[in-house]
């Protein structure tokens, strides 16, 4: 039998998560013939199957319960019965997932993008073999390749993840019942999202990490606000602790810390980072260089060390957020096809779906000082906002970072709807506006967006004081 002929495409995208999907659509929009290869049967990657979509659906239930508890001001004693079924808190998941998959698939179809289900392996920089589920193989040749194959949870050698008692972010949502207690190993984005979610659902959560505070990469003021909310829901954080071993003793998961301390919990959640899904891809055959941490090395335009291969999304490492991945996918294709990339996505927001939410866009205070020599910070606390009092959610903070000439440089928020609020600042940043725009214009009342006016007044006051001095 003759071998199947090689298929030829202008652009080949490996992976259909946020980065891959956007890369494919961007290429198709400029008339290129595009193929997406993904190991999953449906579009969306891990984001839809085990990542953002399912976890945020569960988070919405947890946030609703926490919000109801706060709004009732102890009038309602809202606690979930012991052993509540996790599935009962995610009843809408199937609907949410189906709707998102339908939307993504329709977009691929509308743009004439071909999709194959299979596992890819580089034979050479421009030639890729795809092993199909039915054990057949096909070869693709493309002018431009975008690698967006995502990541998977890292399993440290001293943490035996069995997906039964010790879980990772792929298996945590397979829990049938809410555990009475949960130890969380790590204090990054995923650790904090799940720790705050389970604490809000009444689980006794203990987060353990070597860091001195959760989300240590964030502005300390935002972290302090997060810790306050997390601890109020009963969460504990053990800072500066190193894990020696983890084992299931037949009844509980015992986490032994260096120094002899032990933490016992019904279940353990290991969130110690993610590693790139490059296993089986044979990146060496493509001439792709990896970083020391096992991610694909790329330049500012997402170009790898191989001339016609780009990479985007989790596979290139931090920040590994969906919004960033989308921008990376778009940038990769535009640069690869010789389209202008300037002014694209200079201000990509980041959102952390903890309870409460955290969001950022632009420069933080330290970055602004480093770049401009000095900076002003205007603050608005949620308890200054009528809407926050009406909502019964007065924990929250918006910080506006302002240049010495009054230009807005960044915004950082924690609190209810922070991930939505930050887009107002994003548009001001894109427009290069002065912080005074928030003082000179009227916002709906009562709204949380009023925080911009309050924070801007604070910053403008500081600017005036500086000018007077």
């Amino acid at each position: 039998m003759l071998p199947a002929p090689e298929a030829r495409f202008d652009v080949l995208v490996l992976g259909s998560g946020p980065a891959g999907h956007k890369a494919a659509v961007q290429a198709a929009k400029v008339g290129k013939r595009v193929l997406i290869v993904d190991r999953e049967p449906t579009a969306g990657g891990e984001c839809v199957q085990r990542g953002t979509i399912p976890s945020k659906t569960l988070r919405e239930s947890a946030a609703y319960i926490a919000g109801l508890r706060a709004r009732s001001e102890d009038m309602l004693q809202i606690t979930l019965p012991p052993q509540t079924k996790v599935a009962s808190l995610m009843r809408r998941l199937r609907h949410v997932r189906d709707a998102h998959e339908r939307y993504l698939s329709a977009q691929l179809e509308r743009n004439g993008i071909i999709r194959w289900q299979g596992r890819a392996r580089f034979l050479s920089p421009e030639r890729v073999e795809v092993a199909m589920l039915d054990r057949t193989k096909r070869t693709v040749v493309a002018d431009l390749v975008v690698v967006a194959v995502g990541s998977r949870p890292r399993q440290p050698a001293n943490v035996p993840v069995d997906h039964e008692h010790v879980l990772d972010s792929d298996s945590i949502l397979s829990l049938i019942y809410l555990p009475a207690s949960l130890s969380v190993l790590g204090s990054g984005v995923i650790a904090c999202e799940f720790a705050s979610l389970f604490a809000a659902l009444g689980v006794q959560v203990t987060m353990i990490d070597t860091a001195s505070r959760p989300l240590a990469f964030l502005d300390p003021e935002l972290t302090a606000e997060f810790s306050k909310a997390y601890e109020r829901e009963g969460g504990r954080f053990l800072a500066g602790r190193k894990i020696e071993s983890v084992h299931w003793d037949g009844r509980e998961v015992v986490t032994r810390l260096v120094g002899g301390e032990e933490v016992r919990a019904e279940r353990c959640f290991c969130a110690q980072g993610r590693i790139a899904n490059v296993e089986g891809l044979d990146v060496a055959a493509a001439g792709i260089t990896m970083t020391a941490r096992g991610h694909i090395a790329v330049d500012a335009n997402m170009k790898t060390s191989a001339p016609r291969i780009y990479a985007a999304g989790d596979v290139v490492g931090p920040p590994a957020l969906a919004a960033t991945a989308i921008e990376q996918g778009r940038r990769a294709v535009r640069h690869g096809l010789g389209l202008p990339t300037h002014a694209l996505g200079e201000f990509v927001p980041s959102g952390i779906y903890t309870i409460p939410e955290i969001a950022s866009v632009g420069l933080d205070e330290a970055q602004a000082v480093a770049k401009y020599g000095s900076a002003f910070v205007g603050r608005a606390r949620y308890d200054e906002l009528a809407r926050a009092h009406i909502n019964g959610q007065t924990d929250g903070l918006l910080k506006l970072v302002v240049a010495p000439d009054g230009r807005l440089l960044g915004a950082h928020a924690i609190g209810e709807h922070a991930t939505e609020l930050v887009h107002v600042a994003q548009m001001a940043l894109v427009g290069g506006l002065s912080v005074e725009v928030f003082v000179d214009n009227v916002f709906n009342f009562p709204t949380l967006a009023e925080a911009y006016r309050v924070a801007a007044l604070d910053a403008v006051g500081q600017l005036a004081k500086r000018a007077a001095a």
Binding site: R39, P41, D170, S174
Partner: protein
Amino acid sequence: MTPSVQNRVELTTEARTWLETHLDRELELPLLPEAAARVVALCEDEDADARALESVLERDPSLTACVLKVANSSVYASKEPIVSLQHAVSRLGMSTVRNLALTNSLQGRVFDVPGHASLVHDVWVHCAVTAVFAREIGRKLRRNVEAAFLCGLIHDVGRPIVLQTALRLPRSLGTFTGAQLELAMDTYHERVGARLVKAWGLADWTAAAVLHHHDPESAAPYEEEARITRLADLLAHWVLTPGSGPEDFPVLDPVVLALNLYPEDLDALLALRERVLLASEALQ
């Protein structure tokens, strides 16, 4: 188990009518014994401790013997020999003890058909192997491991009940041949098993997996649980067929594709053959 004889034999209309009447309407389903019911309840109670579990076990010698035997088996035993019931519970864990309680009850109340010990034993061995394979599939697919195990363990629970019922066929209607008994089990075991699972208060997805383990795509919204049970069922058949090698497994079965298992994923499951057999011995 997989229907094996339907093309060769038939049940008479009278026998079929009698059987369906008894299985669907007049059958008294076996009750979960009190001790097992209390163990299952304790394992679901977040305030229960190992001591409460031990006190239930102490009052049921048969269950105690089973727990000690399994804890001392080669799968669980370490260098230290088991010295007490408390020690055994600690080594096995609550969920394993719960599964043992269910297993013990199934063996005593359901998988006990005088005169057909060998046939029923074969079904039990098949269930034990299916359960262990289901657990490994659940682990691989990041689905709930305990739920997968339980679905596998009881997926064929209807077979011995159908057999017990068929053996009571009135003489006026004749006697079932061995092949007819197998046909009756093949035909009715899913629906009878699902009724038992519901009567014992087990989860909806367990009932769905038992009812649809030959047709998992009909198990909405629990297709995934039914698919895992189906694949584990196929793997158990394969592993229990003497002389079978990897080339004998139906690698392109629709359930393999529906579970999105690539060749290396399936090969990894096939490679667990010896480990699964060893682990399933603890349940036998």
